[in-house]
Symmetry: C2
Subunit: 231 residues, 2 copies
Amino acid sequence: MPQPSAPRKTRGRPPRFSREEVVATARRIVDEDGVDRLTMRRLATEVGSTPMALYHHVRNKEELLLLLLDDHAARTLRRPELPAHPRERIIVAAAAIHEALAACPWIVEVLTADDLMSASALWFVEQIVDGLVECGLTPERAVHGYRAVWYYTAGEIVVRATAARRRADADDADADAYADRATYRERVFADLDPDELPRLARIADDWAPLTAEDTYLDGLRALVDGLLVSR
Amino acid sequence: MPQPSAPRKTRGRPPRFSREEVVATARRIVDEDGVDRLTMRRLATEVGSTPMALYHHVRNKEELLLLLLDDHAARTLRRPELPAHPRERIIVAAAAIHEALAACPWIVEVLTADDLMSASALWFVEQIVDGLVECGLTPERAVHGYRAVWYYTAGEIVVRATAARRRADADDADADAYADRATYRERVFADLDPDELPRLARIADDWAPLTAEDTYLDGLRALVDGLLVSR
DNA sequence: ACCTGAACACCGTTCAAGT
DNA sequence: ACCTGAACACCGTTCAAGT
């Protein structure tokens, strides 16, 4: 959540540019040329300054990227009309997040395998498609079902790998920036407004252990069950 | 699929090291110190040579990473005993891929949000958890259900973004390496053995258009349906 | 055919100094 | 308090030359 700029002391040299300007310029660069082209040096020149001046406004590039993500979420996420039925509510809410993320693919612009991670995996793909067909799906629906399974699987891996990496980095004494980030969720959960977000507030203390559990297979079974229900 | 090294012409200076040695050394570096520490310079010194000698064995670093992934898949994916029931077969096959990928998280060692992409998203998380509880799940199961939805969603985004990026790069005339990679799947699908992989062989021609379709919502509905079935 | 050394065109970040 | 210039310790890759 972007803090409204802290109460500025009036002493000392006045800033030539603000953190907001830095983030806005960074956003423009990313929108125009992609996240790869966002370098501290280019950002500095586009903001009319030198690389090191940026480090007075952001701790490092990692923090800049987090600010950029937050900025994007704040300006993109729109609360949709909620259907009365809870099941539809789930769909609508998830689809809204999905839509927002889809609008800024640079977040995950990285090496992740497409549907085919390697020829060695084809046999496994065959088993999945075949199983779905044997369960009564058309071949077309079976391919789509496989894709869903792959999405779910890839997502689980990415999320877990990232979480693990952060934990490892947080344990690293020198990496203070990471330690700050690791506690970010804790701070947010501690400040939850029980009136606005009652479910999350009630479960806040259990969130970390619950999400640390390995529930990949549960979710996978649910997804497959769901795919097999004729609709 | 790694070609067995092409028939070597006996003329000319004999190689000091092989492509296999390069990949094996790269694998060791990645296993020991993570993918970030794999640089062409370090790889060169560990292989007892100079950076530029590597470029005689691999086109560039991107190709090296692909070789590494292929190498990993070839040595990690083991075909499990298949249960008779097709639904269980799906689970087992997918879990096997999952297990293989989980063993090399460096593949996706990148910036991807954990479960909390931003404080702005909390409201959406609340809607999902609340909807699941209203549908009869315990709060604990609801949190796990939300995680499943998040995994699926993050995976869809990552996979689609990567595919889109590759398509964009392939259109770039200068980026021949990417163009080669874009046709990799086509070559594999053209060579499918209908006896070994009958489903895939039969659907090969439709694979590209089918997987280009946006089926995010279908899969999401299936996953949610499945999560709501009491098991 | 295979390998080398030097160089190019970059990075993020630190340090010491300036206003 | 805020900004600068120079430098450090790197990158991946190209080029021209050597054996």
